[in-house]
Assembly symmetry: C2
Homo-oligomer: 541 residues x 2
């Protein structure tokens, strides 16, 4: 995505003589982000003109332009790779050509949860097993024993034996290789203390395709709604837009550490229903993205009760289940909470998403993940299987990695100590980085930042001075995008403006990952602090 | 998918007292498959009842059932993994438990182009490079030189140097790693003799997600149509159904070796337009799936002219570009044909799909592929980039493999000879298998089979006796599904009924891959011949 909502607005506004603040006050009177977007894009749709370079001079006009493509595609937004990132890539090219031309010597991508792009090393054992599965003919060579651990060799054999014909280059069952799903189910059982079934697992290329699949299944028209937290990870708003539904927001409470209040859920549900929206599902992201909160067990129980009572599918984004940094919080899966509350498969439709991209493994590029689908009837499971089968299967490397992540080395395995050291090293360092950055943000004038209890992000609130907001409106751009753009241009630090995630109108945030390597954190803090001071000096009321 | 169109019909028919032949005569009067499907499924939608096992006894009813999910999902069909395959999997389980219980000792999956599942070995060089990229820390160990070729080690270093931070576990650019796209573009240039641009390449998890992305972009409603060959690979009908458009069929002419007649294209286009359908694109599969034909250069020129004149996007499925088995035919990409005809980027919107799953490599499980997107305006390219970015990127292993497939070892490289021997061995064996199976089908009573000039399939026509058709109607099931089911149950050979691909009404086919290993072909021919003779003896008029 190259434009944010407000960025798009600016072009329309220029034509229509509307200023950004009038859009914002318009927004305040709207409960639905969907309404906001359709306001902007229906305007865009009717007023923008084609800028196509093509000349169909033979009489037929260029048939593919912004007016004639699927409007759901036009409406979809994805801020994590938005305009700021495009600008960062340009600056990176500039640095390559002329390292002296900018006031910094590297671009620091704090916009996306992509640990290995910032220097995090993969877990050795996982990569050993993947390499052996990719090229099994070295498995019984003597040299292999010199450069691979004994348990990775054994594990590769085990995995190959689970694959029909040992063919890692064959399409698998459309839900994924049965034996790998069994390992995953065993891992879930060990985690939760409740049974899990390999037939409930759908392996996917990362968590995103699973989310798309559920949206595709549930959304019939814009009269169907999905309850989503605000702020939210924009995969949800994007996939709801692409599948033509309505995002029904509920607000996390910043004042109570991004608490999830059932009373707000209830209010938003009733409000949506009164407008004729059929709410199909509730999205919960735990640990939270972009907020970093970890839900309390009691809160999770309330959410389960709420979904059961209201007949909502619970879509539980649990991709940060390994990323908890505080002693007083612990990750509990929603399935564990539901089963512990006495609810079985017949009581609640629940989908848990997991990914190999997060945790301590951070294997984003491998595109592995799964969804555990429980509480759906056989006929709906058949429909899900059918949709999965149209794309044949997810990639086998990602499938293998998903099984490894859910059943890592055990005490006594040759790799166990190295594995633990790597894992603990990454997680404890992430906890330290989160704390240092949190403290840094909190030390800035007009900035408050909740603790990152989990996940990979901080979402500080920036109380921007009126003069800065006016300067942003003059561009025009969203005030937090204005701040983020300045931050990039003066320090090379890339963050995502809060407007890409949604926020209470009139508040401004940025999302900043905790992922730069630890030795870079002091310089980041220094640059950030200096930048912010200068920014405030320029715009302080 | 567990049900075929006609299978679904049978349940409806039982309720509504409609027989299958009346549906077929209904079909004869319809030009649009979409109409056929919506006829069946709108009936299913209004008459079927929930069979959910869930009991929402607290007052709220089970909110997710066939009546309340997205009807586009219900409508979507994908025959390649349909009911016959489900039955085959059951029989395979039965064989495992009781090998004597069936009249055959193994299931032979000839339903799907999945070479490695049937024993084809991967190309050694490709797997060496993948393993080294998965676990780069062995690259500079002395043991590695003993078990990997020198050029695979060098290539792995080259690829790692193309990846920012050498991080194969990081999300890449949403179109794929720039350096890999450059290798692919160079491979396309070498193939076509015309320039290719890395910025036009979108790396995808196999070809399917690229096709979905284009359908998502182009289809606004069922008033938008896509011209598709009949018979077609059901990814197209499935993705058109999922994205809510209309499939506009054009018929390949079986009598002329599945020839593509421009006059039929024109007729179907005019017919669709007269019904108010906006036709957005033309799908051409070359070499053909399921038909195996390779288009003549002159025919391709006509297709390019037709798309240019009519303002249609040309969606060129070229995943079988390496699979040509006859001396008098050659693969030419549509881009080469267009450029050779003097048409540049401004004249024609053209998308070429390629995959690592087919060719001589057959790396289905790696889910690698790309689309080369030319002739679209910058604003539409931005929209495509945005949609790609919502899923972040395709898997890096698949990306690397796609680059290898498009730039394999060269003369002088250490692996070159082995690579050539493996490649030629696979392709020449496929050609022999195609010929043997083609001859076998043609020797059967009432069966005619066109030559498999390319791809991986034969699509013989079975002139079923009236008594067999009546027996199928009594089940009820489609006559070709009846034949395929019998074939499976008596021989263990799995094929896909032609009704899954579309065929001229009143004709019946099966699709059979040419992929079983060569030493198994004689037994397959024998079983097939014996089965067919018995079948004819039972049903001959």
């Amino acid at each position: 995505m190259r434009r944010f909502v407000v960025e798009t607005a600016k072009h329309i506004n220029k034509r229509n003589n509307v200023n950004v603040s009038s859009i914002h006050s318009h927004l305040k009177n709207r409960n639905f982000i969907g309404f906001y977007q359709s306001f902007l894009f229906s305007s865009a749709f009717s007023t923008s003109t084609s800028t196509s370079p093509m000349d169909y001079s033979n009489g037929s006009s260029n048939p593919v332009n912004l007016q004639t493509i699927n409007p759901k595609v036009v409406k979809c937004e994805y801020a994590v790779r938005g305009e700021i990132v495009t600008q960062a890539e340009k600056l990176q090219e500039q640095l390559k050509k002329d390292p002296e031309s900018l006031p910094f010597d590297e671009i620091l991508y704090c916009n996306i949860g992509n640990p290995q792009s910032l220097g995090q090393h993969p877990i050795t054992y996982f990569r050993e097993v993947l390499a052996l599965c990719d090229h099994p003919s070295i498995l019984d060579k003597s040299e292999t024993q010199g450069i691979f651990s004994a348990d990775s060799i054994e594990r590769a054999w085990q995995i190959l034996d689970q694959i029909p014909g040992r063919a890692t280059g064959a399409y698998s069952h459309s839900q994924g290789i049965k034996g790998l799903r069994e390992s995953i189910a065993a891992g879930i059982e060990a985690r939760d203390g409740f049974p899990a079934n390999a037939n409930d697992i759908f392996l996917t290329d990362g968590a995103s395709p699973g989310v798309h699949m559920m949206m595709q299944l549930l959304l019939r028209s814009e009269q169907d709604g999905i309850l989503c937290p605000i702020p939210q990870y924009p995969l949800y708003s994007a996939s709801i837009a692409l599948h033509g539904g309505t995002l029904v927001p509920y607000y996390l409470d910043e004042a109570t550490g991004w608490g999830l209040e059932i009373s707000d859920l209830r209010k938003q549900l009733d409000d949506a229903r009164s407008k004729g929206i059929t709410v199909r599902a509730l999205v919960v992201i735990n640990p939270g993205n972009p907020t970093g909160q970890v839900l309390a067990e009691e809160n999770q129980k309330q959410i389960v009760e709420f979904c059961k009572k209201e007949g909502l599918v619970l879509l539980a984004d649990e991709v940060y289940q390994e990323n908890v940094y505080v002693a007083d919080k612990q990750f509990h899966s929603f399935k564990k909470i539901a089963r512990a509350s006495g609810y079985g498969d017949n009581d609640l439709a629940l989908v848990s998403f997991q990914s190999v991209s997060k945790g301590y493994y951070g294997e984003c590029g491998k595109r592995g993940g799964y969804m555990e689908v429980t509480g759906f009837s056989a006929e709906i499971r058949e429909q899900l299987y059918k949709v999965a089968s149209v794309n044949l299967c997810s990639n086998i490397t990602g499938q293998i990695l998903a099984s490894l992540v859910m059943s890592p080395p055990k005490v006594g395995d040759e790799s166990y100590e190295t594995y633990c050291a790597e894992k603990d090293g990454i997680l404890s360092s992430l906890a330290r980085r989160a704390k240092t950055l949190e403290d840094a943000f909190n030390s800035l004038e007009g900035v408050t930042c909740n603790k990152a209890e989990g996940a990979m992000y901080l979402f500080p609130r920036i109380n921007l001075p009126k003069k800065a907001i006016q300067a942003a409106e003059a561009v025009p751009t969203a005030p937090d995008a204005f701040y983020a753009r300045r931050l990039l241009e003066q320090t090379g630090i890339v963050v995502v403006p809060g407007s890409g995630f949604g926020q209470v109108p009139g508040t401004w945030h940025i999302r900043c990952t905790i992922l730069p390597q630890e030795d870079k954190i002091p310089a980041i803090v220094e640059r950030l602090t200096e930048f912010h001071k200068k920014f405030m000096d320029e715009f302080r009321d």
